[in-house]
C-alpha cells in the first residue's frame, strides 16, 4: 500500500519508462548483434561441449564405463587363473589366443560386450537424451534459451555418439592394458595367416573398436527417437535395450532370413574381416551403410516428433 509509482503507470509510467527504455536498449541490440555476427557453428560447438560436460559429469556415466572396463579385466583374470589351457572353439572367439598374446583380451572383451553390455549402456544414454531433460524440466529452459529444437536434437545425438566411442574405447583400452599386464605381448597371427607387429595390431584393435562404435550408432538413433516419445527416461532406456535384444533374437531365427540384412544388429559381430591381410572392408561398408540408414530414418522420425512436440513437463 505504500508507494504509488509501480501501480499507477498512467501517471508515472510513461515518465519512468521513457528514459529507462533507452537504458537497456543499447545492450539489447548489441547482444542480438553479437548473436548474428557469431558463427552459428561456434555456438553449436559450445552447446555440444556443454552436453559432453553434463554427460561426463554424471556419476552414472562413469559407473557404466567402469562396468565396461571391468569386463576385459574379468576375462583376463579368469583365463590367467585357469591352469588348464582353453580349448579352441569353446567360449567366445579368440579366448584361446589370450594366453599366447595379451592383445587378444581387448578383442575377446569387445565380442563379449557386443550382444548385451554395450547396447545396455548405449540404451541408457540414448534413451535419456530427450526424456531425461524433459523429466528434469531442463528441456523447457534449454528451449526457451533458445537452444532451437533441431540444434538440440543434433547435439543430443552427437552426445550419444560420443558415448558410443567412449564405451567401446573403454573396453578396448582396458583390455589392452590388462592383457599387457597379465600375458605376453608379441606379433599377432591374423586369420589370413599373416603376422603383424604389435604396433599394427594395436591399430587393428582400434579399427575393431571403430567398427563396434559404428554398429551402435543405429541403436543410438532408435534410442533418440524413443526418447522424444516420453517424459519417463527409464521407459525410453528399457524400450531401446529391449529392441536391441529383440533384433538379435530375430537375427538368430533362420525363418526370418529375408529380414536379417535389415536388422541393425545384423553385422554387429562381423568384424573378422578386419583381421585379415589385406583388410577386407566389405562388412565394414555394409554395416556403415545399414547404420547410416537407421540414423536417417530414426533421425527423421525423432525430428518429426520433437519439432512439433508440446513441451509440457
Amino acid at each position: 500500500m505504500s508507494p504509488s509509482d509501480p501501480r499507477e503507470p498512467a501517471v508515472t509510467g510513461p515518465a519512468a519508462t521513457g528514459p529507462a527504455v533507452t537504458g537497456p536498449d543499447p545492450s539489447g541490440p548489441a547482444a542480438t548483434a553479437t548473436a548474428v555476427a557469431r558463427p552459428r557453428g561456434a555456438s553449436a560447438a559450445a552447446l555440444l561441449g556443454s552436453e559432453l560436460t553434463v554427460l561426463f559429469r554424471r556419476r552414472r556415466t562413469w559407473a557404466m564405463l567402469a562396468a565396461l572396463a571391468a569386463i576385459p579385466v574379468l576375462i583376463a583374470i579368469a583365463v590367467r587363473l585357469t591352469s588348464s589351457p582353453v580349448t579352441p572353439g569353446r567360449g567366445p572367439a579368440f579366448l584361446d589366443r589370450i594366453t599366447q598374446n595379451g592383445l587378444f583380451v581387448a578383442i575377446t572383451a569387445l565380442i563379449v560386450s557386443i550382444p548385451l553390455f554395450l547396447p545396455l549402456t548405449v540404451g541408457v544414454v540414448a534413451g535419456d537424451t530427450v526424456a531425461g531433460e524433459a523429466n528434469l524440466g531442463t528441456l523447457r529452459y534449454l528451449l526457451v534459451a533458445p537452444a532451437g529444437r533441431v540444434r538440440l536434437l543434433l547435439v543430443k545425438y552427437a552426445g550419444a555418439a560420443a558415448f558410443c566411442v567412449a564405451a567401446t574405447l573403454t573396453v578396448a583400452v582396458s583390455g589392452a592394458l590388462i592383457g599387457a599386464a597379465l600375458f605376453p605381448i608379441g606379433p599377432v597371427t591374423l586369420l589370413s595367416g599373416d603376422t603383424i607387429g604389435v604396433g599394427e595390431s594395436v591399430l587393428r584393435s582400434l579399427l575393431i573398436a571403430a567398427y563396434v562404435t559404428v554398429s551402435l550408432l543405429g541403436l543410438s538413433a532408435i534410442g533418440l527417437f524413443i526418447s522424444t516419445l516420453t517424459e519417463v527416461p527409464v521407459g525410453a532406456m528399457a524400450a531401446t535395450i529391449v529392441l536391441s535384444v529383440t533384433a538379435q533374437v530375430l537375427d538368430a531365427l533362420p525363418q526370418l532370413d529375408w529380414l536379417h540384412p535389415w536388422l541393425f544388429s545384423h553385422y554387429w559381430l562381423d568384424f573378422a574381416d578386419l583381421l585379415r591381410q589385406p583388410i577386407d572392408w566389405t562388412s565394414f561398408g555394409a554395416n556403415a551403410l545399414l547404420q547410416g540408414g537407421y540414423i536417417l530414418v530414426f533421425g527423421a522420425l525423432a525430428y518429426g516428433r520433437f519439432v512439433t512436440k508440446d513441451i509440457l513437463s
Binding site: 509510467g13 529507462a20 537504458g23 547482444a31 542480438t32 557469431r38 559450445a46 531442463t138 533458445p146 513441451i311
Partner: protein
C-alpha cells in the same frame, strides 16, 4: 480493452489464443495485451490456464489457434530473434541436480546462441549475486532448498539483459524475506525498463508489484487493465461505526442499502459500538446523504468511511469462491 493499453506499444499481444488438449479446452481464445514497460500480473486460480498460456507464448507448446506476438514479433515463428531478449521462469525452476549452481547456469547459457561465451563467467557470477546465491554457487543443486532453486531459476532468467521477463509463480517456495527480495528485484528491473509478466495466484503479491493485471478463469480472460481500473470496477463499501446499530440498520435499509454487521469496534469503555458495512451499489445515495439521513434519524455516528474495492473482492467476484479449485 482500455484506452491506456490501446495507445501503448505492446510487449506481449495475443489474439484468440486457444489451446485444446483432446476434448478439454485449457485456454479459450484469450486476447492479452501487455504494455511495454509494465509490470503485468497474470492472476487466476490454479488450473485456469496461466501456465499453458505462458508455454504457448514461449513456443514450448503450440497453440491450437490464435496468434501470439512477443516484443513485436510473431511467436513461435520468430523464436530465434525473440527468445534471447526474453528471460523466463516457467512452472518452477528445473536444474541438473548433479551440477553446481554455477555449472547449471553455464549450461543453460550455452544453449542461448546469442550469449557471448567470453563474458559467460562474469554474467553467471553477476546473476548469482543479483539473487543472493553467491555463497551457494559451488554447491550441487540437489543440496539446494526449494527457495534457493527458485532464486537460481530467477538468476537464469537474468543471465542476459532482457527486454521482457516472464516469471511464472516467482515467489513460490520463498520465505517472506525472499518474497520481498523478489518483489524489489522486479521493481528494480521494471525501473530499468524491462517489461515483467508475472503469473501468480497470490493477490497480495500482485497488488504490491504490478501496474497491470489480467485475470484468468477456466481458460478465459475475465478482466484485464491497470490495477486501478480493475479495483475501481469493484464495489465500494460504506463502513459505519455507531452505538445505535439497530436504528442505523433501519435507516440504511430505508436508503436501499443492505447493511451487514461487520463486527464490534473498540469504543470507549461502557459504550457498545457496532460496525455496519453496506455495499455502495450503482443506485446508492451519495455518502454525505447517507450520513445526513443517519443524523436526522438520531443515529449517533462515531465513524463513517467509504472503503474502495479491494482486488481480492474483485478477484473473487470474477473467479468465484473456492480459490484454488480449477473450474
Amino acid at each position: 480493452m482500455s484506452p491506456a493499453i490501446a495507445s501503448v506499444e505492446l510487449a506481449i499481444e495475443t489474439h484468440g489464443l486457444t489451446k485444446q488438449f483432446g476434448r478439454q479446452i485449457a485456454v479459450a481464445g484469450i486476447d492479452l495485451a501487455v504494455p511495454t514497460g509494465s509490470v503485468f500480473g497474470f492472476l487466476g486460480p490454479n488450473g485456469s490456464g496461466k501456465t499453458t498460456t505462458i508455454r504457448m507464448m514461449l513456443g514450448l507448446a503450440s497453440a491450437t489457434s490464435g496468434e501470439i506476438s512477443l516484443l513485436g514479433r510473431a511467436m513461435p515463428g520468430s523464436f530465434r530473434a525473440v527468445l534471447p531478449r526474453v528471460g523466463a521462469l516457467v512452472e518452477g525452476p528445473a536444474f541438473y541436480p548433479f551440477l553446481s549452481g554455477t555449472a547449471n547456469l553455464r549450461r543453460l547459457d550455452t544453449a542461448d546462441p546469442g550469449a557471448p561465451s567470453a563474458t559467460r563467467g562474469a554474467r553467471v557470477q553477476q546473476a548469482l549475486e543479483r539473487v543472493g546465491l553467491t555463497h551457494a554457487a559451488g554447491k550441487k543443486v540437489h543440496a539446494y532448498s526449494l527457495g534457493m532453486k527458485q532464486r537460481l531459476g530467477i538468476a537464469n532468467a537474468l543471465l542476459m539483459p532482457r527486454e521482457l521477463l516472464v516469471l511464472d509463480e516467482p515467489t513460490n517456495g520463498l520465505d517472506p524475506q525472499g518474497t520481498r527480495e523478489v518483489r524489489s528485484l522486479v521493481r528494480s528491473l521494471a525501473a530499468e525498463g524491462t517489461t515483467v509478466f508475472v503469473s501468480s495466484h497470490l493477490l497480495a503479491e500482485v497488488e504490491q508489484m504490478c501496474s497491470h493485471v489480467a485475470v484468468m478463469r477456466a481458460g478465459t480472460l475475465v478482466a484485464q487493465g491497470t490495477l486501478d481500473e480493475l479495483r475501481g470496477a469493484g464495489e465500494a463499501h460504506a463502513r459505519l461505526d455507531t452505538p445505535d446499530a439497530a436504528a442505523a440498520a433501519q435507516v440504511l435499509e430505508r436508503l436501499g442499502l443492505t447493511p451487514v454487521t461487520a463486527g464490534a469496534a473498540a469504543g470507549a469503555p461502557g459504550h457498545l459500538s457496532a460496525v455496519l458495512s453496506a455495499a455502495l451499489t450503482a443506485g446508492a445515495p451519495a455518502p454525505e446523504d447517507i450520513v445526513a439521513a443517519l443524523v436526522t434519524a438520531g443515529v449517533r455516528v462515531r465513524g463513517f468511511t467509504v472503503v474502495g474495492a479491494s482486488l481480492e473482492e474483485r478477484f473473487v467476484a470474477l473467479t468465484g469462491e473456492g480459490f484454488d479449485v480449477a473450474q
